[in-house]
Amino acid sequence: MKKFLLAVLVDNKPGVLTHVAGLISRRAFNIESISAGYTEEPDITRINIVVSVESENELAQVVNQLGKLIDVIKIVNLSLTDSIERELVLIKVKASKASRADIINVVNIFRANIVDVTPEDVVIELTGGQSKIDALCEVLDEYGIIEIARTGAIALSRGPVPVKAM
């Protein structure tokens, strides 16, 4: 299985997320993550989809089927261009007096941030690529991860040309 990050520009209209999500599920496409948000243009939403496919052909199916949706304006496979990919994670970890210093050490090594502290836990924020986030989760596992929230990957191409002009 190979992963690709698709930037999908869609009309910012009610129902568009249903159309995209419905298509992905009924065509039985494997997606790793999906996230959506506003863009520099108020009437355009950008949906970032990480798909995992067996073949070029399956990837083409995903792109062509998404392309048929009326409210999809543009699809660019950012994994095929020079691009920067990031994901945000919030991790809530058990932190006793004894373990707190170790956790802070780990956080510093990963250049993550502690964004909340209580007597029993800390909440850590990290932005990075998927492998870095996975690595932090692995290291923190021994302290006891209470819960994790991840955004899924988003990406921008490098250089001045935006996806809408590609």
């Binding site: 009309d11 129902g15 249903t18 159309h19 009326i70 999809v72 304006i73």
Partner: protein, 567 residues
């Protein structure tokens, strides 16, 4: 022009050239129906919303225009679902306008509320929920544009009840501006040049005609290309009629119940030119061994169809209205004598067709269903429209009804919807009032929307309903006979319902034919008579549809019929 939302809907329909609406009123569309009443907008009241949507579908298939449906919220809209899915998979242009509960009630599980956009998203080309009257003209304009352009399909517009009553200063947009959809599908000349090169090198090419040829009205081009090449041709169910039955080299229906020669030609050809088709499992047989010796060329407007089921060696994108004229021009300019080049191949497949036509064993003691359909076909003119339901009778109709032109043979191909036939025939007759319309159905299918006989009666819609009455769900029974040890599990219809009396009770004439000679003595007269009628024809129960490619087998692994002849 100041008006309410309901008037704005009807005014928009007028601007789109809509001649008639099929529908059924209810609470959420009362305002719409009140304006329809005042405006005297042509409307056919069916007896079930499913009837309305299949009727609009039949209308669209017969005429090539967009079929329009009205239904109320909740159950009204939900009753459209089968019909919308039927239209979607066969790429039929529809605009379905459903009432939704009023804005303040949306999302509260209100009376007769259903999430129509949520339900119809997987089975529509596009859908809208209109909550603001100011969106109505734009949405209607877009809906018709989306439904009829590109690969056609159904569009649902769900309108909140209060929107119909709200005031709007109506102006219909001149143009559609959709950033994600242009409705234009340019072709690729380089791909067509490659097709010409492949044809120059081919010895055994075959044309495969799909429903896209019907939808794009390019059958005249296909016929001319076929003649010019002297290459044989086969058809999908949806492509029947694009090449007239009886044309030199036309081998007929391919696939699960296709002709022997058609399926053998697919397995033997060295170049397969597929025109507007989607390689359904009913057409390919075992997909990995479909056309194993052929280079496959796929002419297709919908890019998502490329390589979906069968990988193409050459993809020719774009509308057939663009690609086929270009191909024809290049072939006609080519120095190659294609007719000479493909002559022996054409002779070979023609001989196969002559040796193994669709056949059956004629009987003296009973009416054979195939004989009945041949007779209906012989009594048809080029103008006749024949609709079918789904099952054995549908396949016999595809095999034995000689379709002569596109839009003559109306059938639910992709979804295989029993109950489609009667309302679709009704809609076809409304769209083509001057042409005879015959429905070929079965005793199973006809009951699924038999209430529409009342619609025929009340509106004087002249459809002749030919029921192939074998007292069983024939196709289910055939599979049970072949693969389930003759266990007729819930497929036998005891036949205590008198279909003749049912027809009469609904307000149309009913006849029963049981003797083979009645095909000569009574059928012609009934079919030629004025007004709707049901003709209940008793046929033997155990007749199989053959040839048949069993599931998972190659197209050349057909079970053949024992029949002697095709008269």
């Amino acid at each position: 022009m100041l008006m309410n939302g309901a008037q704005a809907v009807l005014e928009s329909l007028k601007r789109e050239g809509v001649e008639v609406v099929f529908g059924y009123p209810g609470g959420a569309v009362l305002t719409l129906y009140d304006e329809l009443y005042k405006m005297k907008f042509p409307h056919v009241l069916t007896r079930h919303e499913q009837g309305a949507v299949h009727a609009a579908d039949g209308y669209a298939r017969a005429t090539g225009k967009v079929g329009v449906v009205f239904a109320t919220s909740g159950p009204g809209a939900a009753n459209l679902i089968t019909g919308i899915a039927t239209a979607n998979i066969d790429s039929v242009p529809l605009v379905c306008i459903t009432g939704q509960v009023a804005n303040p009630y949306i999302g509260k599980d209100s009376f007769q509320e259903a999430d129509v956009c949520g339900i119809t998203t997987p089975i529509t080309k596009h859908n809208y929920l209109v909550k603001d009257v100011r969106d109505l003209p734009r949405v209607l304009k877009e809906a018709f544009f989306i439904a009829r352009t590109g690969r056609p399909g159904p569009v649902v517009i769900d309108v909140a009840k209060d929107v119909f009553a709200a005031q709007i200063d109506f102006a219909y947009p001149e143009q559609v501006t959709l950033r994600g959809y242009s409705g234009e599908y340019p072709t690729d000349e380089a791909a067509i040049d490659e097709v010409v090169r492949l044809l120059d090198a081919a010895e055994q090419p075959l044309l495969f005609v799909g429903g896209g040829v019907t939808l794009s009205d390019t059958s005249a081009l296909v016929r001319r290309i076929g003649r010019g090449l002297g290459a044989p041709a086969v058809s999908t169910l949806m492509g029947l009629g694009c090449i007239a039955d009886g044309t030199e080299g036309f081998l007929g229906l391919a696939g699960m119940h296709g002709a022997y020669a058609a399926n053998m030609a697919i397995q033997q050809c060295d170049l397969l030119l597929c025109l507007g088709m989607r390689f359904s499992d009913r057409v390919t047989g075992k997909v990995t061994e479909f056309a194993p010796h052929a280079k496959i060329v796929h002419f297709e407007l919908d890019a998502a169809e490329f390589n979906k089921n069968v990988p193409a060696d050459v993809k020719v994108p774009g509308d057939l209205r663009a690609s086929l004229p270009l191909l024809m021009k290049k072939l006609e300019a080519s120095p190659t004598d294609y007719r000479e080049q493909f002559q022996s191949w054409l002779r070979h497949v023609t001989a196969l067709a002559e040796a193994h036509p669709f056949s059956y064993v004629p009987r003296q003691d009973a009416i054979q269903p195939e004989a009945l359909i041949e007779k209906v076909s012989a009594l048809s003119s080029d103008d006749t429209i024949v609709a079918t339901d789904v099952g054995q009778h549908q396949m016999w109709a595809a095999q034995f009804y000689a379709a002569r032109r596109p839009r003559q043979f109306i059938t639910s191909g992709g979804l295989g919807t029993m109950g489609f036939g009667l309302p679709a025939a009704l809609g076809a007759k409304v769209g083509r009032p001057d042409q005879p319309v015959v429905l070929i159905t079965g005793d199973g299918s006809v009951m699924m929307n038999c209430q529409e006989m009342a619609t025929l009666a009340d509106n004087d819609i002249d459809v002749k309903i030919v029921v192939i009455h074998n007292f069983i769900l024939g196709m289910v029974g055939q599979w049970q006979r072949l693969f389930y040890n003759h266990h007729y599990s819930q497929s036998e219809l005891k036949g205590k319902t008198d279909l003749v009396k049912l027809a009469e009770a609904m307000g149309i004439r009913g006849y029963r034919l049981t003797e083979p000679e009645e095909l000569e003595t009574r059928l012609p007269e009934i079919l030629a008579s004025e007004g709707a009628a049901l003709i209940d024809v008793y046929v033997p129960e155990e007749e199989d549809v053959l040839p048949m490619v069993p599931g998972g087998k190659r197209l050349d692994q057909m079970v053949l019929g024992k029949g002697e002849k095709r008269s």
